[in-house]
Subunit: 419 residues, 2 copies
């Protein structure tokens, strides 16, 4: 079966000038992929007639479906409807159901219907109107030479509603799409290149209908297996077989299958053990606690933190021995160990986790340059410490430290701490 291909065209200067981030395309890409439609290109063009036409002409040479967003507002700089009317050699005519929708919206808002908004109910005669249940600009569905062109508003919630309710079901029916299944494996603590070398022999032997992609991120490298086929069950089996082989090769570094974050995994591990946790943070300054509490329901296991930026706070609140501080300095294995052990006792939690390091850009010494960071994990049975040397600027140093700390919790709870 031939793969159905799609292209997305976003229209409007605000994306080109960087005034807004294009989140629509990622959402559409996800939904089309789930449907088995392969997105070939995403193109953002300016509000210019010739440029929009050129983009349409290019796209139809490559794709079966062209999805457009933006340029449907009532103002002068919104050109999409005008362009499409000319492009499909048709003319505008009043679409009564759309006019009724627009009128209802204005009545609901208690505003008088303006002439500009009335004009939004005039649509190209050649299109099938796509109802906008929550906004004033209807969408348009065109078919030509077996290809589909859909124009939708750029307002994210209007576009999403239209896609979900109307466009995606209609595309599925129109193209009778093949089966595509993705499996995501998330790793942490192994550099992309080491991962690639480890996986190379296996990757080379992957069957042709399964592909591997590396998606690196500060929090680790995500691996994505994509399978294409006819029979969903066989495809699922093929993918699971490859997932098992993959797992055998890199199991200690895998923290999740699917779209789950490391902090979510840590929360699940704590919950499963009925454990509570507290943090004692110096260099991360609250960011580690923030990551933990970014998860809904974290109040089940997170008790609280002491952020001990100043050494006085380390001594007074975390009972770090002033002699330890004087002898080894705040950024030391000895101090971070006391911080983790003592915050655990202070809050009566099962787990204590602590950070102390030189986040930079200042504060480094020859002995302890910027990016020297100590982390400690403590529970009833053990205390584990880890030294990082990582310097990519203050904010990334903080984020990276929090990620390694979360991984240290995961490793400690699952008994997989590296030596």
């Amino acid at each position: 079966m031939r793969t159905v291909t799609a292209e997305i065209i976003t229209i409007g200067d605000e994306i080109l000038f960087g005034q807004i981030v294009d989140t629509n395309s990622a959402w559409m890409g996800t939904e089309l992929t789930k449907l088995g439609i392969r997105v070939k290109q995403i193109t953002s063009v300016s509000d210019e007639v010739s440029h929009i036409v050129a983009a349409l002409n290019d796209a139809r040479t490559r794709a079966d479906v062209i999805l457009m967003t933006g340029g449907l507002g009532p103002t002068k700089d919104d050109l999409t409807k005008t362009v499409l009317t000319a492009y499909f050699n048709t003319e505008l005519q009043l679409h009564e159901p759309s006019l009724a929708d627009v009128k209802a919206i204005f009545k609901n808002r208690n505003i008088e219907l303006s002439e500009l908004n009335r004009q939004q109910a005039f649509l190209p005669a050649a299109c099938t109107p796509v109802r906008n249940a929550i906004g004033t600009a209807p969408g348009m569905w065109f078919e030509e030479d077996g290809k589909v062109f859909v124009s939708m508003p750029g307002v994210p919630f209007e576009m999403k509603r239209m896609m979900t309710d109307i466009v995606l079901p209609r595309l599925k029916e129109f193209f009778d799409t093949p089966q595509i299944i993705h499996k995501v494996v998330q790793t942490v603590g192994i550099p992309e290149s080491t991962l690639a070398e480890t996986l190379e022999p296996w990757e080379t032997n992957l069957p042709p209908h399964i592909r591997l992609a590396y998606l690196p991120h500060i929090n680790g490298v995500r691996l994505r297996l994509t399978g294409t086929g006819q029979e969903p069950e066989k495809l699922e089996d093929d993918l699971l077989e490859q997932l098992n082989q993959l797992t055998d090769l890199i199991s200690p570094y895998i923290f999740a299958y699917g779209e789950i974050s490391l902090e979510e995994v840590v929360g699940m591990l704590l919950n499963a053990r009925n454990y509570t946790i507290a943090t004692a943070e110096s260099c991360t300054g609250g960011y580690l606690a923030h990551k933990i509490t970014s998860i809904a329901g974290s109040s089940m296991y997170f008790m609280g933190s002491v952020i001990a930026y100043h050494n006085d706070v380390k001594v007074k609140e975390l009972k770090v021995n002033p002699e330890t501080l004087a002898q080894h300095g705040a950024v030391s294995e000895e101090v971070v160990r006391e911080m983790a052990e003592n915050v655990r006792l202070k809050f009566g939690t099962n787990v204590g986790i602590a950070t102390s390091g030189v986040a930079g850009p200042d504060g480094g010494t020859p002995d302890k340059p910027v990016g020297t960071i100590w982390i400690a994990y403590a529970d009833k049975e053990k205390t584990v410490t880890k030294l990082l040397r990582y310097n990519k600027g203050r904010l990334l140093n903080i984020e990276y430290t929090a990620m390694v700390a979360l991984n240290l919790i995961r490793q400690s709870l699952t008994g997989t701490v590296e030596e």
Copy 2:
């Protein structure tokens, strides 16, 4: 003077499949716009040789500069370097300085250099290498027919560093771009629509060589005045005159001129008064402390925090009266007031700031729905409280709360708290 045009090409299936949102292009669009270079198109293409080549061929018909990101990793699915080597009819050769950089990075991480990473130091002979100070994939700068092609990694912080340090200055020089001066005015606490209504008469009367842009963000609305001209001094004068008029209209809402963050402004206000600060956080879970400590040098004024997620911690560590808790609940003016006042006394700081609210998605009640958040500021003379009702999802609720708390510190220190 002719306008220099640019196109951005992002390479990689992960954007097309919606697995990551393309934030790089928006950032690049902003920076190019600031330089006076007009972005004509942003194109995301898949990891396929013919597709990348087609995108390059299309782009060069429209633009003077083609900036590419992605596809430079050490793995098989990364094709950009191979494609560019063929496209510019050249060959790979070892670039010794890049090899030295890659080696240094691996030495620093205490990992052995792999053959795959060694290959990253092989670059097309026809390019000028662009140094990657913080990653293993160098960038490449090509020139052909008066056009510039630059390839950079897709990792945002590596791309940004490369753009800022090398690519943008080199483009400015290469194209001798016109004089463009930007003035940024940052506002907080006023909605975009109110701002637009207030500024409309003034905006309408702006001289043609000065343009205004609204850049809304969760942290407030940034206003950017852009002046284009020949004589820098006159342009600067014209912009300052408009800045003064603008300031007269919205002065209470302006927290900064230029690219300074609210947390940086708060740090400067504290430093100027020789004040110290501590936070007591419930719903923000450390995020407020993180914002404060994201600023280099914040150890001058930030002492530490108690994150009191569990009520026991509020009572034990922050001495919140259990009767206050029982009577009013954790999310109440009374409790947040005690938290702010007591954390100030506990850490011996000039200022205490506290948050307590329902971040969601669960935990709401009819009386205190999700998004009900109390904030308190305390110093020697006064305690100021503020109630928020804001619900855009857990993470945004947390971010918004931290922003309002920072603004409350700013307003309290400058004596401009609203009634």
